[in-house]
């Protein structure tokens, strides 16, 4: 095992050396730090040019400069990082990285998780309904989204998601025809996803359409968008619905202990909601408190599951914990919604809450909730843009691997034993279908720290991708090399991690081979 690790890391180090050397030389060939001086009309341009050549030591061949740079990087091993500095701004690259990495993580974190959850779910359903209209429609839509250029999506999102939406908030006039069309599409989606035949399909279509229409009509027709909220009733009812759904998928509703545990947790969610209103009134929130409360909620869910006891305690605990997560998320979202109208009426916001640029509103002063809502309004559009595009990949992966698993002999065996379809899919097929994803997801998450260049640029986030492209454009080699170094290391590490995760999940694979 140790030997294997050492071998992997040594080969990774070798790869990094070759990559950085090649990139350094290639970038140096491609950029021209003197470009602006060549067209300068300044009388002393020659002298400035000479100064710069000397400063950047452009008269030294780039392979030699690479080793100078490498010496600074080597300092990182003994805690004295010197990734150089930007010659344009004089700023050390290490300090440039801090802000950039934070912004990239913030931007990409939400988008990645949403697209993994959505993508995998839709992919699985699509696989179960293979070769139906639903499957074809999903395939068509995912490929369509996958091929959309992000700069174009971003412009459209800004136009309709921000500018027009904000206009609507100022002067709410509902386009009922559009609501009907959207509701019908949603109804069709649910009809396809639920499957079944004949009458049941029509019932699903009608139910899906009506529920969606009612929901949209309430959201847009009432004052809800200006003063949103879920409320005690909303939180309790939604948690109860979640309890039913989660139990159905997790253990099946016939497992009474699990079902009651889930329902109890949902009701506790309501109580929790009420208590939290007072709690947040007296205690100024921050992310540590929020995360702490989140952990408490999960523990309560687990506790309730165990309290119902029985031979299958684990399953009950798991089910109740998932419900607890959903309920506490609802409470958190509701608390944010309570400051929405305050936020929207701020002088900086001027009643136009959804933002098109930046990571936050300049000069915004407010408590934790105001800041959180501000982050949300800035994250919304770039996250949607990223989700729309990366969602497709996960859908295709999970559909493919699910189909493969569903055609295995052991699935047929499971069915022949007379297991319910739920058990066959959730317990026997799903787990194995998720295996290949274990090798994709770590790589995806970690490489995402490298940022999303176009999205960052268009939405004005100063992340890693922006730093890379800007520096490249300005012939500033050190920040570019820092980017290549970090994304390179992360990619190599992510691959090693993926191999390990795979080995842990799948006992057939051994890493010390």
């Amino acid at each position: 095992m140790i030997k294997y690790l050492i071998r992997r890391f040594l080969s990774a180090a070798l790869v990094m050396l070759v990559v950085t050397f090649l990139m350094y030389v290639l970038i140096d060939l491609a950029i021209d730090p003197l470009e602006d001086l060549r067209t300068s009309t300044s009388p002393n341009a020659a002298q400035l040019m000479e100064n710069r050549i000397r400063n950047l030591q452009l008269d030294v061949p780039s392979p030699i400069r690479y080793f100078w740079w490498l010496t600074g990087v080597g300092g990182c091993l003994i805690g004295q990082c010197d990734l150089g500095s930007s010659w344009l701004t004089g700023q050390a690259v290490t300090s440039m990285l801090q802000g950039a990495i934070l912004n990239s993580v913030k931007l990409v974190f939400v988008a990645t998780f949403v697209s993994i959850i959505l993508g995998v779910t839709v992919g699985l359903v699509s696989a179960i309904r293979q070769y139906t209209g639903f499957d074809y429609a999903i395939t068509f839509i995912t490929f369509l989204l996958y091929s959309l250029p992000v700069f174009w999506v971003a412009v459209l999102l800004k136009q309709y998601g921000a500018i027009e939406f904000n206009n609507f908030l100022r002067d709410p006039e509902v386009n009922w025809l559009a609501l009907v069309v959207i509701s019908l599409i949603a109804g069709a989606f649910w009809m396809g996803a639920m499957g079944g035949s004949g009458r049941r399909r029509y019932i699903n279509l009608a139910a899906g359409t009506i529920v969606t229409f009612a929901l949209l009509a309430f959201l847009f027709g009432s004052n809800w968008l200006l003063q949103p909220g879920i409320g005690l009733i909303g939180v309790t009812v939604t948690s109860l619905a979640a309890a039913v759904l989660v139990t159905h998928l997790s253990t099946g509703l016939h497992n009474k202990r699990a079902f009651y545990a889930a329902l109890t947790t949902a009701v506790l969610g309501g109580v929790f909601y009420y208590a939290m209103q007072w709690f947040f009134y007296f205690v100024p929130a921050n992310w540590f408190i929020i995360l702490g409360l989140f952990v408490v909620a999960i523990l309560v869910g687990v506790g309730v599951g165990f309290a119902f006891g029985g031979p299958d305690k684990g399953a009950s605990a798991r089910t109740a914990a998932i419900v607890a997560i959903i309920a506490s998320l609802l409470v958190f979202v509701d608390r944010n919604m309570q400051v929405w109208s305050n936020y929207s009426n701020l002088a900086q916001i001027r009643g136009r809450p959804i933002a098109t640029i930046g990571a936050s509103s300049p000069g915004l002063q407010g408590d934790f909730w105001i800041q959180t809502v501000d982050s949300f309004t800035h994250l919304l559009l770039p996250s949607i843009a990223l989700v729309l595009i990366s969602f497709a990949t996960y859908t295709r992966y999970s559909r493919g691997s699910m189909l493969e698993v569903m055609n295995q002999d052991y699935i047929r065996t499971a069915r022949a034993k007379g297991l319910t379809e739920r058990t066959v899919i959730m317990r026997h097929a799903l787990r194995n279908a998720l295996l290949p994803l274990a090798s994709i997801v770590p790589v995806d998450i970690i490489t995402l720290i490298g940022g999303a260049v176009l999205t960052e640029t268009i939405f004005g986030w100063a992340g890693m991708g922006r730093m890379f492209v800007d520096s490249l454009g300005k012939a500033d080699i050190d920040p570019v090399m820092a980017y290549i170094l970090i994304t390179g290391i992360l990619a190599v590490v992510a691959n090693i991690v993926a191999d390990f995760v795979y080995a842990i999940l799948d006992p057939r694979i051994r890493v010390n081979a």
Binding site: R52, L56, I163, Q348, R352, D367
Partner: protein
């Protein structure tokens, strides 16, 4: 079981109703600090990075804009590019013509934001640093990125202004330090813009405090003056090191000293790569008192993002890179005023005189006259009118042909210089028939091959090339597409016969064009050489009378036109768009661009 659920649900609903009767005081409570009116947000493309914008590394308009708002100076440019006095800060006057002596007088209101008066030490430091006269080494040791790391005990200020270098001697300073008189070693045409525009130096006491640990402002000022007067190498080396890089920042600095300014705004927030906030100072005593209480500059380089942010009300003023799409988008927005105007870049075609090409007399056995006729024929064939109509008018319907090599349209001397050069009468809008006749008169045997160098991938220049080629081919030339991605490196290589690119004006200093047209000048890429032009520039260097300066430039341009040096095309338009609630925005072409009258902005 069904009944059980229903009962539970009913119970929940009932208790919910009960509980909601005494709902706790949830949100609503601590909302954000509203802030007053009078706040404006501006979108700019590149983030600010230094409070000292006079080193060769930091001389950038993004720095200049912020420095300009945070500091007062003796003079500023207005929208007509005329120098205006800021008498509340001080005055500048010429006290003697030969030798040239210039007296700077600070008013009593000129104070740094920490209360220290602005005086001689600040101006003398600015001169000492920016002139380069005190550098004891050409070879300052730097780290491999270019920041001066350790001058090794040597003095190295990273700046070189030729005009300031002409001041060799330590100035005369009045008792109270408010009057400073510099003597030039020889007359200098642009004395009026020396140390007067943009900012009038970094705070000497802050530099001294951070460079040589002198806490008391008065002592610090004295230490700086003494160091400069006695050329104290040890002290000056430390001062130079701090002056070069000490003021660099990419987010709010911990050392508040760096934000000391003499102007109406102070920096209150700077988020890396995102935005920078300036607030009006209450204790500012000068004339440029702003009407807005807060100016936020947000950074994003995507032009479309700027337009949409303007439409969404996140910013009120934008200056995006101009293309037809961006212009169309801006025009489609309600409540937005678009002030498209001339920008700082102008396009021109230059010919090569020294490469044995069609424009070099050497190709015709040294027949100067014949080469000149060919040059004139080629320049005549360039459809200047059509280029402006087809390429620039869609972006700016006020666009006109630029008729001067040295003057920005709209600048005070433009009309005078254009008239003197006779460029309009000679070339007009371009005339293919005339060009054809001229080429025939020149008597060349076969169609001259003209290799035209321009930027590959630049759509605008590609269009210009097409129009030029079409017309010149008709006139009897054979224009060869010599587009290159590395065009700027190829300038001066002689591997082309004509070049098409842009010059950017950074000031209205009259000597700026010297390097373009003088024999062997730094920017004279085509090998043009003319004794008369060289003599005129020698005269211009030392001519301090503005009227005579304009005359000289007119004479220079006449030679350029007569000799067929090249031809000017147009000033590239720039979009300045703002919300119609924001009043008094007036675009301007040189730094600090549209910020020049920030104190007049009103909302």
């Amino acid at each position: 079981m069904k009944r059980g659920i229903l009962t539970a649900a009913a119970g929940v609903a009932a208790s919910a109703l009960l509980l909601s009767a005494c709902t706790p005081p949830g949100g609503g409570g601590n909302e954000g600090d509203g802030g007053g009116g009078g706040e404006v947000s501006v979108m700019w493309n590149q983030p600010f990075y230094s409070m000292n914008n006079n080193t060769s590394a930091t001389n950038n308009v993004t720095n200049a804009n912020v420095v300009y708002m945070m500091n007062d100076a003796f003079k500023y440019y207005d929208e007509n590019l005329e120098l205006q006095d800021n008498t509340s800060f001080g005055t500048v006057e010429q006290v003697s013509e030969d030798p040239l002596k210039v007296k700077y007088t600070y008013s009593d209101n000129a104070k740094w934001s920490d209360g220290t008066p602005v005086d001689a030490a600040d101006l003398v430091l600015a001169w000492a640093a920016r002139s380069g006269n005190f550098n004891t080494t050409e070879d300052a040791k730097r780290d491999d990125e270019g920041a001066v790391e350790d001058a090794g005990g040597d003095v190295f200020f990273d700046a070189a202004e030729p005009g300031l270098a002409l001041i060799k001697d330590f100035p005369e300073i009045s008792e109270d330090g408010k009057e400073i008189t510099f003597e030039y070693s020889k007359p200098y045409a642009d004395w009026e813009v020396n140390l007067t525009v943009g900012d009038s130096g970094m705070p000497a006491h802050i530099v001294a405090k951070n460079a040589i640990d002198t806490e008391d402002p008065e002592e610090a000022k004295k230490a700086v003056l003494d160091a400069i007067e006695s050329k104290d190498k040890g002290q000056l080396a430390k001062i130079a090191e701090f002056w070069n890089t000490g003021f660099n920042m990419t987010s709010m600095p911990e050392n508040e000293d760096l934000l000391v300014g003499s102007g109406p705004m102070k920096m209150t927030d700077f988020s890396e790569g995102q935005y920078l906030t300036l607030e009006a100072r209450d204790d500012y005593e000068g004339d440029r008192k702003p009407k807005m209480s807060k100016i936020t500059i947000r950074y994003n380089e995507d032009p479309m993002a700027a337009v949409q942010a303007l439409e969404n009300g996140e910013v009120q003023l934008i200056n995006p890179q101009s293309t037809a799409d961006v212009l169309q988008a801006v025009e489609g927005i309600d409540g937005v005023e678009n002030k498209t105007a001339d920008g700082a870049t102008y396009e021109h075609v230059d010919l090569t005189f020294d490469n044995n090409g069609p424009f070099d007399p050497a190709s015709y056995g040294g027949d100067e006259e014949k080469a000149k006729q060919v040059r004139e024929a080629f320049l005549m064939s360039i459809p200047r009118g059509k280029i402006v109509n087809d390429i620039v008018k869609p972006l700016n319907d006020q666009a006109e042909i630029r008729e001067s090599f040295t003057q920005v349209p709209g600048s005070p001397d433009y009309d005078k210089v254009v008239e003197a050069s006779g460029i309009k009468n000679t070339y007009g809008e371009g005339n293919v028939e005339e060009a054809k006749k001229m080429l025939e008169e020149a008597g060349v045997d076969e169609a001259p091959k003209v290799r035209l160098l321009y930027a590959k991938g630049n759509a605008r220049r590609e269009q210009e090339f097409q129009l030029i080629k079409e017309a010149a081919d008709q006139a009897g030339f054979e224009v060869i597409d010599n587009a290159s991605e590395t065009w700027s490196e190829e300038l001066g290589s002689g591997e082309y016969d004509a070049s098409l690119f842009g010059w950017q004006s950074t000031s209205t200093a009259v000597t700026e064009s010297d390097a373009n047209f003088r024999t062997g000048g730094q920017n004279n890429f085509g090998g043009f050489s003319n004794d008369e032009v060289d003599k005129l520039y020698d005269e211009l260097q030392t001519e301090t009378d503005p009227a005579r300066q304009a005359e000289i430039l007119g004479e220079v341009e006449k030679v350029l036109v007569d000799e067929g040096f090249g031809i000017t095309l147009f000033q590239f338009p720039e979009i300045v768009a703002h919300s119609d609630q924001l009043q008094n925005v007036k675009p301007m072409t040189v730094s600090p661009t549209m910020f020049w009258n920030f104190w007049e902005w009103e909302m």
